[in-house]
C-alpha cells in the first residue's frame, strides 16, 4: 500500500472499519513509513484535543438560567 492509499484510509483505520486484508497492508506500511506514522499519531492527537477542548464552556449560572426558562416554557405548554 502506498502513502496516498494509507492517507485515504486513515479514518477507516482509526474507526476499526478497514477490512482485514487492507488493515494488515495499512499497518505494514505504517510500520515502515515514519511520515505516515506521524500523520496517524498527529491525527489521533487532534482527535484528543477536540475531545478535551472542543466544547463551548457553560457555567452553572448559564445552565440554571436556561433550565429556569425551559421549565417556564414547559409550564406554559402544559397550561394550554
Amino acid at each position: 500500500m502506498r502513502c496516498t492509499e494509507v492517507a485515504e484510509r486513515l479514518t477507516d483505520l482509526m474507526e476499526g472499519d478497514l477490512p482485514e486484508p487492507e488493515e494488515a497492508e495499512a499497518l505494514e506500511h505504517l510500520a515502515s513509513c515514519p511520515s505516515c506514522e506521524a500523520v496517524l499519531a498527529d491525527t489521533r492527537e487532534v482527535v484528543e484535543l477536540a475531545r478535551d477542548h472542543g466544547r463551548v464552556s457553560l457555567t452553572d449560572a448559564d445552565r440554571s438560567a436556561m433550565l429556569s426558562s425551559l421549565l417556564g416554557a414547559v409550564d406554559e405548554s402544559e397550561a394550554r
Binding site: L10, T11, D12, E15, D17, V39, D42, T43, E45, V46, V47, L49, A50, R51, D52, H53, G54, R55, V56, S57, L58, D60, R63, S64, A65, M66, L67, S68, S69, L70, L71, A73, V74, D75, S77, E78
Partner: protein, 179 residues
C-alpha cells in the same frame, strides 16, 4: 442548578425534563453554538430542542438513542435559524472566547490557551466538516449516529470527519498547539 420543583405543575414532569436537560444541555448548546456562533441564538435552540424532547418523553425510553435524537433536533433547529437569518456572524475572528476557564495555576492557563486555539480552529473548518468533527470527536457520537444527525450516508459522514480532522491537524500544526 435551579430547583425545578416549584409546585406549579406535577413535580414528575419538571424532574423528567430536568434530568434530560442536565445530561444533554452542554452537547445541545455546543452543537447549536457551532452552527450559529451566537450564545443567545444557541440558548433559543436549547429551549426549542428540549421543549420538543419534552413532548416526546415517552418515546425516548431507549437511553442510547436519546443523544443522537436530541442533537439531530438541535442541529436542524440551528440550521433552520441560519436559513431564516442570513446575518448570522460567521467570521471566526469575531468569535468570543469560548474557552474561558476559572483563573488558576499556570498549567490551567496553558490549558486555556490550548482550548482557545482548538476552539477557534474548529470554528475555521468548513461548516459541514465542522459539525461532523463536533459530533464525532467532541460529542463522541458513533460514526453511524453522526450520519443520522447530519442526514447523510455513512460514507459521506466519514469523509467529512476525515477532512475536518486533517484540516484541524494542519491548522493546529501551524499554531504549534499539538505536542
Amino acid at each position: 442548578m435551579a430547583n425545578a420543583v416549584d409546585g406549579r405543575f406535577a413535580p414528575s414532569i419538571h424532574l423528567r425534563v430536568e434530568s434530560l436537560f442536565v445530561v444533554h444541555v452542554d452537547a445541545v448548546f455546543n452543537v447549536a453554538y457551532r452552527v450559529l456562533w451566537n450564545r443567545s441564538d444557541a440558548e433559543d435552540v436549547v429551549q426549542a430542542t428540549f421543549l420538543k424532547a419534552f413532548t416526546r418523553l415517552d418515546q425516548l425510553a431507549d437511553v442510547s438513542r436519546v443523544r443522537p435524537w436530541i442533537l439531530q433536533v438541535a442541529y436542524r433547529e440551528s440550521i433552520s435559524i441560519v436559513r431564516q437569518r442570513r446575518d448570522v456572524p460567521i467570521d471566526p475572528a469575531t468569535f468570543p472566547d469560548t474557552a474561558a476557564l476559572e483563573p488558576g495555576p499556570v498549567d490551567l492557563l496553558v490549558a486555556a490557551d490550548i482550548a482557545k486555539e482548538v476552539s477557534h480552529a474548529i470554528g475555521r473548518l468548513d461548516p459541514n466538516e465542522r459539525m461532523a468533527v463536533v459530533l464525532r470527536d467532541v460529542e463522541q457520537l458513533s460514526m453511524r449516529e453522526v450520519a443520522t444527525v447530519l442526514g447523510v450516508g455513512l460514507s459521506a459522514a466519514k469523509m467529512r470527519v476525515h477532512r475536518g480532522r486533517q484540516s484541524l491537524r494542519h491548522m493546529l500544526e501551524a499554531l504549534e498547539v499539538r505536542g
